[in-house]
């Protein structure tokens, strides 16, 4: 799927969050990095287990959406809904895309200073 038009970072959300939690923002994105890396590493073993995949993508969707990582949220949601509705989707391509987008997102967060490099 073409996700170029969807921003990696929803900056209004992220800035609003930063205003609220101030310095804790770094811990949140650090947690995101750790948690989602861990989830993504479980995906290759789960490609033939749709229930497990739904759960993993649901978590990524929730984590990403809450903290303004919009492109990650959309892709995770596409996977979750596609699997739930038995839509004709290509899991390999989408999970691949999710992994790549995660790297781009973390880079973007590092670039924006929300994750310390």
């Amino acid at each position: 799927m073409n996700t170029d038009s969807i921003p990696l970072l929803e900056l209004t959300v992220i800035n609003e969050l930063k205003d609220i939690v101030e310095d804790s923002i770094y811990e949140i994105y650090q947690e995101y990095d750790t948690t989602v890396s861990d989830i993504l590493s479980q995906i290759p073993d789960s490609v033939n287990n749709p229930d497990r995949l739904i759960q993993l993508s649901h978590t990524i969707k929730g984590s990403s959406g809450s903290i303004g990582l919009e492109r990650m949220r959309v892709i995770a949601e596409t996977i979750e809904h596609g699997l739930r509705n038995n839509d004709d989707i290509n899991i390999i391509i989408l999970t691949n895309q999710l992994t790549n987008t995660f790297s781009q997102t973390i880079d973007a967060l590092k670039d924006s200073g929300f994750i310390k490099s």
Binding site: I20, I28, E31, T35, Q55, S66, R73
Partner: protein
């Protein structure tokens, strides 16, 4: 009242339940920044376990979780005791309306959609907490109100006239001891009396028609048959064209019971349950308040004179029964006397109303005195009592307390004059009362100073013309030689119980004198000593007699104890046993004033008596030619038939003596031989006068 939470936010604990570590972390950071204390769990089971031990102030709960999902977690949290007030905010996807509905059914208070709007989150939490505080306060108020209503035993009800249904809430059901919540009006009214049912129905009809509220008090028999007293209020429900009445019922049975007890305590005598003096004053004040000046009201104070002497040994139960019996005797005869109050242990008071003259009141009083010439039956035994009536009249005095006080003064005067009559209060009685107090004081001193002396009147044996006995009689000789006679001091002594001391003095002196005469060689001269009613019922009587015999070393057969017929008849059982004891000590027993009282032959036969003393009133009228002697002859014959030793009193003339001797009266006493005299004169009588009398 401040409904809002007064605790600092840092003490408010929020529990986050979400499997997603990032969301948990973010929620924690946001809420901590807002100042709350935050805990988190990564699944439903952990959250339930946590809440079992420690209840947070609010729960943020993710719906989609592996294991126990958000819905079941929510239900489980609600099922923990008393968790209804815990705010549970569920976290759900924006487009997931179905899950929001389901969460609500599972007990969720509110929801927040994901992605979470962080700026709004703390506001939503704050609102949920405030709402929780409001509900808590409301719940507390409701519980307090319910508790208060429960304590006050107040319950609500509603009546819908369109379907004739009376609905009572559970509290009301409990108060009324009923089992159902719904009743027809008829079913409800069946628990009251017919008259009350009509009243209640009229009130309800009137309220439905005119909208006026009502309040009434009525009885209510609950399903256990216990009768309650209810205050019952009702008013029209505040709605257009209302057919409904709403109201309260309060069980005031206990209050009424307490009020009644207090009323009883204040106005009734607990022993006899008769009304007391306060109640008499209340009734009297009612009459005075009504200003019935044209008619007279008699305030009557009636003392049961003989009861005064027997009440002490017989105990208060007996006294109460005696007074009750006297009260019912009066009321049975005089239906107009509505109420008899107990004024003291042995007296009652009552009002006689609506008379035009004092004479009419006097007539009533005399009829009452007559009424008591018949014995009262108490505990299956007959008792004779004389009564004294004091009376004051409204409006001669117009203050209730004064009236009652005057009545009491009149009664005391009446007793002092020997009783068995009616005295109306006069101002001079106040002086009399003062004089009596002075006299009483003087008497106490006189006893201490040995101013009381026994005088003796000789008794002559008609067969042998010898002196065989003497009667001891009390005299009061003041230091200046002035002699006071018994009719002045005996009634007073009976009133204040000085008679006991006085009786002991005379008994001692009589025994000693008889001993003295024997020692001097005058022979055995029996001493007769009168006992008053109080002495006769005195528990120390026997001890005192033993003491007198012991002190004087007098053989008991030389002592004769005399009681009057009326003393014996007051309490025949006591008289029999006491006389028996005295007789077993070897002492002679004698009945004084024989023929004047009420005693029947059958009673006389029961009494352990040696001697009958024929009253002087039968002897004095006898003339020289034996005219007017029929009654005396009859009485002597009666004495013979009872095998009694007979002593006649009142022999004033020689022919009295001769008549008595002729008709077989064993001994004679009277002025013909000698008036009562002191010891010296008595000796002189023996030595110098006796021989000249025959």
């Amino acid at each position: 009242m401040n409904y809002f939470n007064q605790r600092p936010d840092s003490e408010i604990e929020i529990l986050i339940v979400d499997d997603d570590a990032v969301t948990r972390k973010t929620l924690t950071a946001v809420l901590k920044k807002a100042g709350y204390s935050v805990e988190s769990c990564e699944n439903g089971q952990d959250a339930i376990n946590y809440c079992v031990n420690r209840l947070p102030d609010l729960v943020l709960l993710d719906l989609m979780m592996p294991g126990i999902d958000g819905y079941d977690t929510c239900i489980a949290l609600r099922n923990l005791t008393d968790q209804n007030l815990l705010p549970i905010i569920t976290l759900t996807g924006l487009n997931d309306i179905k899950s929001i509905d389901k969460a609500f059914e599972s007990g969720s208070t509110d929801f927040i959609t994901k992605p979470i709007n962080w700026s709004l989150l703390t506001q939503r939490v704050k609102y949920a907490l405030r709402s929780r505080e409001l509900f808590t306060a409301l719940d507390k108020n409701k519980k307090q109100l319910s508790k208060a209503l429960h304590i006050a035993r107040i319950g609500y009800w509603e009546y819908d006239s369109s379907n004739n249904q009376l609905i009572i809430l559970d509290d009301t059901k409990f108060i009324l001891g009923l089992n159902e919540n719904n009743y027809s009006l008829e079913q409800f009214l069946n628990h009251t009396t017919e008259e009350e049912a009509i009243d209640i129905r009229n009130c309800i009809d009137n309220t439905l028609k005119n909208g006026t509220p009502y309040s009434l008090q009525h009885s209510f028999k609950n399903s256990d048959g216990v009768e309650l007293t209810l205050t019952h209020q009702g008013e029209l429900a505040q709605e257009k064209n209302s057919k409904r009445i709403i109201g309260t019922l309060q069980d005031i049975t206990r209050q009424i019971d307490i009020e009644n007890k207090l009323y009883f305590h204040r106005y009734f005598d607990s022993e006899s349950s008769l009304p007391n003096k306060e109640h008499l004053l209340l009734q009297l004040n009612k009459i005075i308040d009504n200003k019935f000046y044209e008619k007279l009201t008699g305030v009557i104070y009636l003392s049961l004179d003989k009861l005064r002497s027997i009440s002490q040994p017989m105990g208060s139960d007996f006294t109460s029964q005696f007074v009750l019996q006297a009260a019912s005797t009066i009321q049975n005869q005089f239906k107009d006397i509505k109420e008899i109050t107990r004024i003291s242990n042995t007296s009652v008071g009552f009002l006689v109303n609506d008379f035009s003259t004092k004479e009419q009141i006097k007539t009533i009083c005399h009829s009452i005195i007559k009424l008591f010439q018949r014995p009262l039956v108490v505990d299956n035994s007959e008792y004779h009592t004389t009564i004294s009536i004091g009376c004051s009249i409204y409006p001669y005095d117009d203050d209730a307390k004064t009236l009652l006080k005057n009545t009491s003064i009149a009664n005391t005067n009446c007793i002092a004059q020997g009783g068995s009559k009616v005295l109306f209060y006069t101002k001079s009685m106040d002086t009399d009362a003062n004089e009596r107090i002075q006299l009483e004081k003087k008497m106490r001193t006189a006893i201490k100073n040995n101013e009381f002396h026994a005088f003796f009147q000789p008794q002559i044996d008609t067969a042998t013309s010898t002196l065989t006995g003497m009667e001891a009689l009390a005299r009061w000789i003041e230091p200046d030689g002035n002699m006071i006679f018994p009719d002045t001091f005996i009634p007073l002594a009976e009133e204040n119980e000085l008679i006991i001391d006085l009786g002991k003095i005379i008994l001692q002196q009589a025994c000693q004198f008889s001993r003295y005469l024997a020692d001097k060689g005058y022979g055995n001269i029996r001493a007769g000593v009168n006992l008053s009613a109080l002495q006769f019922s005195d528990t120390n009587l026997i001890k005192n007699i033993e003491q007198a015999l012991h002190d004087s070393d007098l053989p008991p057969e030389l002592l004769e104890i005399e009681i009057t017929e009326s003393i014996a008849m007051t309490d025949i059982t006591h008289a029999i046993s006491t006389l028996q004891t005295i007789r077993e000590m070897g002492i002679k027993t004698s009945m004084d004033d024989f023929g004047t009282g009420y005693s029947s032959l059958s009673y006389l036969q029961k009494l352990p008596l040696d001697t009958l003393k024929i009253d002087q009133s039968f002897i004095r009228p006898i003339e020289m030619n034996e005219e007017n002697s029929e009654i005396a002859k009859t009485i002597i014959a009666m004495g013979h038939s009872l095998n009694m030793h007979l002593i006649a009193e009142g022999a004033e003339e020689k022919y009295h003596y001769e008549f008595l001797k002729k008709h077989g009266c064993h001994e004679v006493q009277g002025y013909y031989f000698s008036k009562p005299v002191d010891r010296n004169n008595f000796e002189d009588f023996i030595l110098n006068q006796l021989k000249d009398k025959f």
